[in-house]
Amino acid sequence: MSEPILRIRGLKTYFFMERGTVKAVDGVDLDVGKKQILGLVGETGCGKSVTAHSVLKLVPYGGTIVAGKILFEGRDLLKLSNEEMRKVRGTEISMIFQDPETSLDPVFTLGYQIGEPIELHQVIEQHLISPKEVPKKVLEALQTVGIPDPKARVDSYPHQLSGGMKQRGMIAMMITGTPKLLVADEPTTALDVTIQAQILDLMRKLRQKLGTSIFLITHDLAVVAEMCDRVAVMYAGQLIEETDIIPLFEQPLHPYTQVLINAIPKPGAKRGKLATIPPLIPNLMRLPRGCRFHPRCPKATDKCKRVKPQMIEAERGHLVRCHLYS
């Protein structure tokens, strides 16, 4: 693989609360290759979303990136000033959000919101185009994301659009600068299944057309199977497995990944209860000693309770954090 476009090293993002410190991201290493779609999966509250936001340095209120490096094309984003980082956002790195209903500003028209980054980055900052060309660019962005009747949609307010159109509109707003990296935080979770398929399809086309790498955060393994080249599985703030897409489904190594894959209902399987994991989402303020997954792990041994496992390369290109493979 050529030099990755994004390298995350030892990223730690903590939330300092009155009742204690939440280690939402606790030492994450990740690479996103050029034109690659990397999936980051995990259950609610495992820190995958915070990881995504850390890449753009848009950690929600109360959170701080305390350690690590985020190298984007070799440049450490964490060393950039706020103003430098702002110029990276929307031009080189963009983000797609989970909920199209709330991610567009309700008091501005879609065209205005798409025009904003074009006007700021391409007209004012980089002098690439003249102000007169902005409406044309807005229209182009809307056409790229396949919004029906784009001319009419320019003057629509978000509440006049359907959920799928809003999501397309939001994507249009985020790709105006032809970003090299698109961070997609659960882009399809809030959509119904048919729209989901359309949006995933759109993201694949964007990669083809713009050459964009995609860092896709999701909890939906079906989306992962559909989209990703490589997958990282996150649990309680750490990565526990990272591999290419095929081995993940055919030969998952970590017991957590195994249960996750088993929990996917298979067509033709015998009717019965769905496979589940014991419902004990770890408290990120008081993590278990040893392996963070051991209280829920079906294969836990005594060692797991005492010793923290390290990430090891169990097979070529297949990393896992589990004592079973050391």
């Binding site: 709330t102 991610s103 567009l104 500003d105 309700p106 501005f108 904003e116 700021l120 707003m173």
Partner: protein, 260 residues
């Protein structure tokens, strides 16, 4: 006399006579001066509105920036200081602040009219400031909570993710959204200013409706009291209407519905 005042007729008849007059713009005559109540109101209403408007503008001019700063610097010393000022503004009694300001600026420093009264801007500033102070406390708290609410919304994060400048994010996106609840609630607070105006007019000897009302109360000039009270009711209704109109104006989700 009894006949002129209508006291020889039963109360409900008198009431309907009065009400009938109201619809024709006749609010009766003062028992003391025999002047039509409507003439008194017409003379004094603009002055009261002038005072209330100036006070309202003061409260926005002080409260809005205070609230925005507090929201942006949430849970810092700046926030606590701003909210401390707000609390001070709300708690301090209107009339006392008025008297103190007259004392400091009028008597002590001699910068303005020490007796109050009606005239140029120098007469307006102090009473408007006093009237605005109390409401600015409410305004700043309101602005702070509305801004905090909006700033945590996804579309603000999206605006930042587009690489917009922080001042665009705050003053274009956040403020325009926060303006919806702020404007609505502020207009609904206007009646409160009218109430405050009655006291302030008294303190500053501002010859508006409030002062006329207090004088009328002292002389038991019922028709004047009644007429002015009615005028305040109308003002309150207008304030509520303004609240509704501002809501529709600022919120495209409503505006569009109206056009159709």
């Amino acid at each position: 006399m009894r006949n002129a005042l209508g006291l020889d007729r039963p109360p409900h008849v008198r009431y309907f006579e009065w009400l009938g007059g109201v619809f024709q713009g006749d609010l009766g005559r003062s028992w003391i001066t025999n002047r039509p109540v409507s003439a008194t109101i017409l003379e004094r209403l603009p002055r009261t509105i002038e005072l209330c408007l100036a006070g309202f503008l003061f409260s926005v001019a002080i409260g809005l920036p205070l609230g925005i700063v507090a929201a942006l610097k949430r849970k810092t010393k700046t926030d606590y200081t701003a909210m401390g000022i707000a609390l001070f503004g709300v708690s301090i009694p209107n009339f006392w602040l008025g008297i103190m300001l007259i004392f400091i600026f009028g008597v002590w420093l001699g910068w303005g009219p020490a007796t109050g009264g009606y005239g140029g801007p120098e007469y307006l500033i102090l009473p408007a400031l006093v009237l605005g102070t109390a409401l600015s406390g409410t305004t700043s708290r309101l602005t702070r909570s509305a801004m905090l609410d909006v700033l945590s919304q996804d579309y603000i994060r999206a605006a930042r993710a587009k690489g917009l400048r922080e001042r665009t994010v705050v003053y274009t996106h956040a403020l325009k959204n926060a303006a919806i609840p702020i404007a609505t609630l502020l207009f609904m607070r206007l009646p409160w200013i009218f109430g405050g105006a009655i006291v302030i007019e008294m303190v500053f000897d501002w010859p508006g409706m409030g002062l006329a009302m207090i004088n009328a109360i002292h002389t038991s000039d019922f028709l004047v009291i009644q007429g002015i009270a009615l005028m305040f009711v109308v003002l309150v209704i207008i304030a509520n209407m303004l609240a509704d109109i501002s809501y529709a104006y600022l919120n495209p989700r409503i505006r569009y519905g109206m056009r159709r």
